[in-house]
Structure formats: structure tokens, C-alpha cells
């Protein structure tokens, strides 16, 4: 639905999310504890925390792949079910996910990968072709439409998986360390690319990373998440005009603050292991 008035009120919220996993009652691992976060139209938010703090699990819960043990996920104010055959919420046109390892289907061309979501929604062929061509054009992949994933560089692969989410018209895009397997140079270009996509397509993004510079460079707001059990304990508003520079004194200040937090969390993990 291309109704801007409706879109203005779009939101994706996690309220008091708790999640544990374990084989039996004796060996339960608490992954996330009482964590809340909210995404509103057009925002770019980042979750940063030490490795293994449950960031990926939190995204899985927000995308509907996992059901939280406690708390609730609200999409536009309404509680969301788990993706099952019966409960279809949230739909790909609400929430899309971009994974770290691209998750491209090796037997499909770039165009066919991008068309996947539309095919699953059983859209008419004509409409799919038109939409895919349009998206590929807008993200600069037209020349690669008939390439297979193994013929692409890492950056191009991730571009394709972003295009695939854009094709379903997802308002909320959840990104799980999408650029962490890319080299430094490519990562820089992909960050630029992502900001461009964010503005051009008017999307709402939540981005998981463990890179401080990336988080400060990209987002409006940074959530700091503690190590296991993961819990969002602080929300930092990044008050810097774009494009941002890592040499900006304020940038350095933000980084110092986040670095101190991460250091504390990593030390905590270290001591727990002893």
C-alpha cells in the first residue's frame, strides 16, 4: 500500500523481550533479558554489543523467525505472531531481513533472487519483471541481472540481497552485520550505498554490528547491548550532520563513550569465563 499517511505511523517495537534457549530445564541459557526498543518511520538505528550478546536472536524475534519467551513484538501497534503456516505476521512487505552471509540462492540469477519474494506472494509475472527491472536499475545492478551469485564479488552479493528485500516493499529492514565479511574498502562503499538506499527508498532500518565506527557513521540512534544475557541498557542519539567524518571531534567523543562500554562488557565476559 503506497499510502504515505499510513506509513507515517508505521512502527516496529519490541517490548520487554526475553528469550532463553536450552535442551532441558537444567541447562537453560538466558540469551535476552527484558529488552525494549522501538523503530519509527524513516529511522536508522543500530544495535551494538560484544559478540554473542544476542543481537542476532533479537533480530530473529523482531522478524518473526523466533517467538520470544516473554514480552511482545508490536507492528504498527498490533502484536505479531510467529511465521507459521497459520499466522502470517509479519509479512515480507512489512519486515525484510538482510543476513551477514547474503543468503542468496546459488541456482538463481541476480534477477531471479530479487524476484523471490514477489514469486512467493504469487504476483503476476509481468508485474514481477517490471518491479525487478526497476529495483535493479535503482541499485545499479542492471548489468548483473543474469549473473549467478558465484560470479559476483562480496559487495555485489550484498547489494543483491538488499535489492531482494527492497523488491518486497518491506518498510522495516533488519540488517544482521551485513558488511562484516567484506574488506575495508568495499565496506566503506557499501555504507555509502546503504545510506543512499535508505534515503531514496524511504526505509526504516535497524542495523546490528560490532563496529563502532560503522554504527556512528550510519545511524541516528545507537542501542548499547550488554553481554549475555543481552539487554539494551543505553540509547545514544547521534547528533551529527551527514556526511559524517571519523575525524570530527564529536565523532571521536561518541566513539570514546561506546568503546568504554564495550570494554567493560568484554571484561565482564572474560571474568565470567574464569
Amino acid at each position: 500500500m503506497e499510502n504515505t499517511e499510513l506509513k507515517l505511523n508505521n512502527s516496529l517495537e519490541g517490548k520487554h523481550i526475553g528469550f532463553s534457549r536450552g535442551e532441558d530445564r537444567k541447562h537453560v541459557l538466558e540469551v535476552i533479558r527484558d529488552t525494549s526498543l522501538a523503530l519509527h518511520n524513516g529511522e536508522f538505528k543500530t544495535i551494538i554489543g560484544p559478540s554473542g550478546c544476542g543481537k542476532t536472536t533479537l533480530l530473529s524475534i523482531l522478524s518473526g523467525l523466533l517467538r520470544p519467551d516473554s514480552g511482545v513484538v508490536l507492528l504498527n501497534g498490533l502484536p505479531v505472531g510467529e511465521i507459521t503456516d497459520r499466522v502470517g505476521l509479519p509479512t515480507p512487505s512489512d519486515v525484510g531481513v538482510v543476513f551477514q552471509d547474503y543468503g542468496l540462492f546459488p541456482w538463481r540469477t541476480v534477477a531471479k533472487n530479487v524476484a523471490f519474494g514477489l514469486e512467493m506472494a504469487k504476483a503476476p509475472k509481468k508485474e514481477i519483471n517490471k518491479k525487478v527491472a526497476d529495483i535493479l536499475e535503482r541499485v545499479g545492478l542492471t548489468d548483473f541481472a543474469n549473473h549467478y551469485p558465484h560470479q559476483l564479488s562480496g559487495g555485489m552479493k550484498q547489494r543483491t540481497s538488499i535489492a531482494r528485500v527492497l523488491a518486497t516493499d518491506a518498510q522495516f529492514i533488519l540488517m544482521d552485520e551485513p558488511f562484516s565479511s567484506l574488506d575495508f574498502q568495499t565496506r566503506y562503499f557499501m555504507q555509502e550505498f546503504l545510506l543512499e538506499v535508505w534515503k531514496k527508498f524511504d526505509k526504516t532500518i535497524i542495523y546490528v554490528t560490532h563496529h563502532m565506527d560503522e554504527a556512528i557513521m550510519l545511524s541516528d540512534t545507537i542501542y548499547l547491548m550488554t553481554s549475555r544475557p543481552g539487554k539494551i541498557v543505553e540509547e545514544i542519539k547521534i547528533d551529527l550532520p551527514r556526511p559524517r567524518s571519523i575525524t570530527d571531534p564529536k565523532f571521536v567523543e561518541y566513539r570514546g563513550h561506546i568503546a568504554k562500554f564495550l570494554e567493560k562488557e568484554v571484561m565482564k565476559i572474560f571474568h565470567n569465563q574464569k
Binding site: 541456482w107 523471490f116 528485500v165
Partner: protein
């Protein structure tokens, strides 16, 4: 100077090695090193064949070489095709439920090791002498192994690829057809190729024991007529045909099931 590719070196070496074998065979017969009528070289059996108008056997029971090759090929491919198709369906159906898997897998694993040749006597009784028997034997030779391969392959479909498809809106059946099925196809086809040799041998054995035509029957005719030219001709044809089919299967794999899912 143009560099010769690794590929062409491989082909050249293959031609040389086969050439040396055939050359030695011809030469030894020519010099009388061994009994040329027990191991007649190609020059002998091909000459003999052309004198008989490229037909094997006597009178009304005789068959042409192309017909023999065609009937063996038809049997192998029909059996492989039917086996591949039903094994994929059976394997995926079994994988859909843990309970079905627990009850059916023991039976399948019990039947899989029975050599296809062992089914020949039963098949002859049930289907009689004809293509059905041969196709059934090839089918039995590949079906159980491919079903097990399919079940195992389904277990290797990575969770993250299924998650991607789920977040893009794929539901149960769509996941099967759009992720699991294309993911396992190359793996199962590889197993098919490996098992082709077993299927090939099963057809030849069937043709030697019961059926009256096909490549295996050439050897039996030769044996019955004490005609070693025919026996060696049959053996050579079996070797060359088997090689050609394997090449064809490899080509099919490269052309249609090329994606390496274990990247």
C-alpha cells in the same frame, strides 16, 4: 607461443593410453604372441562383423548392432530416470515427518544393499522376458540408494537459507519447491551418476541371463556359438557405451545441476 590447456593435455594422454593398449593388443595378435582366436583384436572382430553385415546371431534371431546398443541404453536410462524421479519424491516425503522417517528408513536401509542382480530371478517370473524386467532391475539398483541419499541431502539444507526464504514469505510447500528441492538436486544427481555403473552392470547381467537382446546378449550369443570375435566385440561395446553414458551424465550435471551448494 600458445599454452596448451590442462584439459587438452588430459585428453591427449587419454588417447595415448588407449592407443597403446589397442596397439599392443593388435601387435601381439599380429606377431602371434598369444592366441589371437581367444583374444581377437579389434581388426579381427570388426572385420568379422562387417562380413556378417553388422548383424549378430543367426537367421531370424539375429540382431543389428545399433538395435542392441539402443535397447541397452533405453533400459538403463528408463530405469535411472524412473528411479531418480521416485527416489526424490520418496526421499522428500520421508523427510517431511520424523515419524514417517523412523518407520520407513529401516526397511529402505535393509533393502538397499541387495544387489540388483539378485532381483533378476524374481523379476523374470513377475515381468517375463522383456524390457520391463531390465528396467525394474535398474530401478531396484538405484531407487533405495537414491532415496537414502535424498533423505540425507535434505538434512544438509542450511537453516539460514530456509530462514531467508521464510522472511521473504515462503511457506511450507514453497520452501520445499523453492529451497530444499533445488538445493538437494545436484547432490542426488551425483549419487545417481556414481550408481549408474551398478545399474549398467545389472542390465548387462539381465541381458546375459534372461533377455535375448542388448549388449549383454551379444556376449552370450558369442559364447553359445563359440565365437570369440563376438565376445570381444560385446565387451568392447560395453566399455565404450558405458564410458559414453558416463560422459553424458557428467555433461547433464554440468549443464543443469551445476551449482555448488557447499560454497
Amino acid at each position: 607461443m600458445r599454452k596448451i590447456s590442462q584439459n587438452s593435455i588430459t585428453i591427449i594422454c587419454a588417447i595415448i593410453s588407449i592407443g597403446v593398449l589397442v596397439g599392443f593388443w593388435e601387435l601381439s595378435a599380429f606377431l602371434g604372441w598369444q592366441y589371437a582366436n581367444i583374444f581377437p583384436p579389434p581388426s579381427h572382430f570388426l572385420k568379422d562383423l562387417s562380413e556378417n553385415g553388422f548383424r549378430i546371431g543367426l537367421g531370424s534371431q539375429s540382431a543389428g548392432i545399433p538395435e542392441s546398443i539402443a535397447s541397452s541404453f533405453f533400459r538403463v536410462f528408463a530405469g535411472l530416470g524412473i528411479g531418480f524421479f521416485f527416489a526424490l519424491i520418496a526421499g522428500m516425503a520421508i523427510s517431511m515427518s520424523v515419524w514417517v522417517k523412523r518407520f520407513t528408513m529401516p526397511v529402505i536401509e535393509l533393502l538397499a544393499p541387495i544387489a540388483p542382480i539378485a532381483w533378476i530371478p524374481l523379476a523374470l517370473v513377475v515381468f517375463g522376458i522383456g524390457n520391463q524386467t531390465a528396467i525394474f532391475i535398474v530401478f531396484m539398483g538405484v531407487f533405495f540408494i537414491l532415496t537414502i541419499a535424498t533423505v540425507k541431502a535434505v538434512e544438509t539444507v542450511p537453516e539460514h537459507l530456509l530462514n531467508v526464504a521464510k522472511t521473504l514469505g515462503a511457506r511450507k510447500w514453497q520452501l520445499w519447491f523453492n529451497v530444499t528441492f533445488p538445493y538437494i538436486l545436484p547432490q542426488v544427481f551425483t549419487i545417481l551418476r556414481i550408481n549408474f555403473i551398478a545399474a549398467w552392470m545389472a542390465v548387462l547381467a539381465a541381458e546375459m541371463t534372461g533377455l535375448r537382446d542388448g549388449l549383454g546378449a551379444i556376449i552370450m550369443t558369442g559364447r553359445n556359438l563359440f565365437d570369440n570375435n563376438l565376445i570381444l566385440l560385446g565387451m568392447s561395446l560395453i566399455g565404450v557405451s558405458g564410458f559414453l553414458i558416463d560422459t553424458l551424465l557428467r555433461w547433464i550435471q554440468k549443464k543443469f545441476f551445476w551449482w555448488d551448494v557447499r560454497l
